[in-house]
Subunit: 109 residues, 2 copies
DNA sequence: TCGACTATATCACGTCGTGACATAAAGTGA
DNA sequence: TCACTTTATGTCACGACGTGATATAGTCGA
């Protein structure tokens, strides 16, 4: 899968996919991602098991992440170079959304 | 529909829903929203007709937006007070995502 | 030993955005 | 006037997604 198709498929990214990839700046396993996301969103975002393992399998298939270590009860993943490209593009988009949110914020008061 | 259920249903908001509501700080009709979103995203986001009219109908049913004027070839909508509450909550969430994006940005270089 | 936590996986369900298709009025230039 | 483009709304099937229930099982402290 080339980078162009990947960008089209993954950007805009869902909030879930974004936080999963954000967590994989360091190698982590599924359950560790759930806890990490809960932490950096101050308990707001609690990922369902179906969401995490389903997303991880899809991302691995697409080459966005790769298996870092396969222990007996843990499968540890890390982000690939292609995954990093995706995140760079997604962060550009998030900045645009944020800019527009700030620009129009007054209209909702 | 009370505000708690509305928040649960609409936050996190999809990018599409966000930009549609953002456009309705001023009264606009469906096609006008499509053009406005294209404009403020520098051509990046081109909403499909199914997306716009489908979303507008759903939002009207839920009391997020209301009909401002019903001309012969245009149905003009505007955001309700409930819709504004939704957007305030969504903007808080966007700020959190943006904060985390900035915090982890170095990990993708 | 018993419950809580860790850890992974599957499945049905409802929701969402997309793009094709359809329809039609209004504007534009030849 | 004729053809083309733009404006404008609507429906539908499709694929993708997140959720939460269900299942299974190892670990750890009380």
């Amino acid at each position: 899968m080339d980078i162009q198709k990947m960008l089209k498929k993954y950007v805009p990214m869902t909030e879930t996919a974004f936080y999963i990839l954000l967590s994989l700046t360091e190698p982590r396993h599924g359950y560790g991602i759930v806890k990490h996301v809960e932490e950096i969103t101050a308990g707001r975002l609690k990922l369902g098991s179906g969401t995490v393992y389903g997303t991880l399998m899809k991302m691995q298939k697409d080459g966005v992440i790769t298996v870092f270590a396969d222990e007996q009860r843990k499968t540890v993943y890390e982000i690939t170079e292609a995954g990093k490209e995706l995140m760079k593009a997604e962060i550009v988009r998030i900045k645009e959304v944020h800019r527009n949110a700030i620009a129009f914020e007054e209209g909702f008061k």
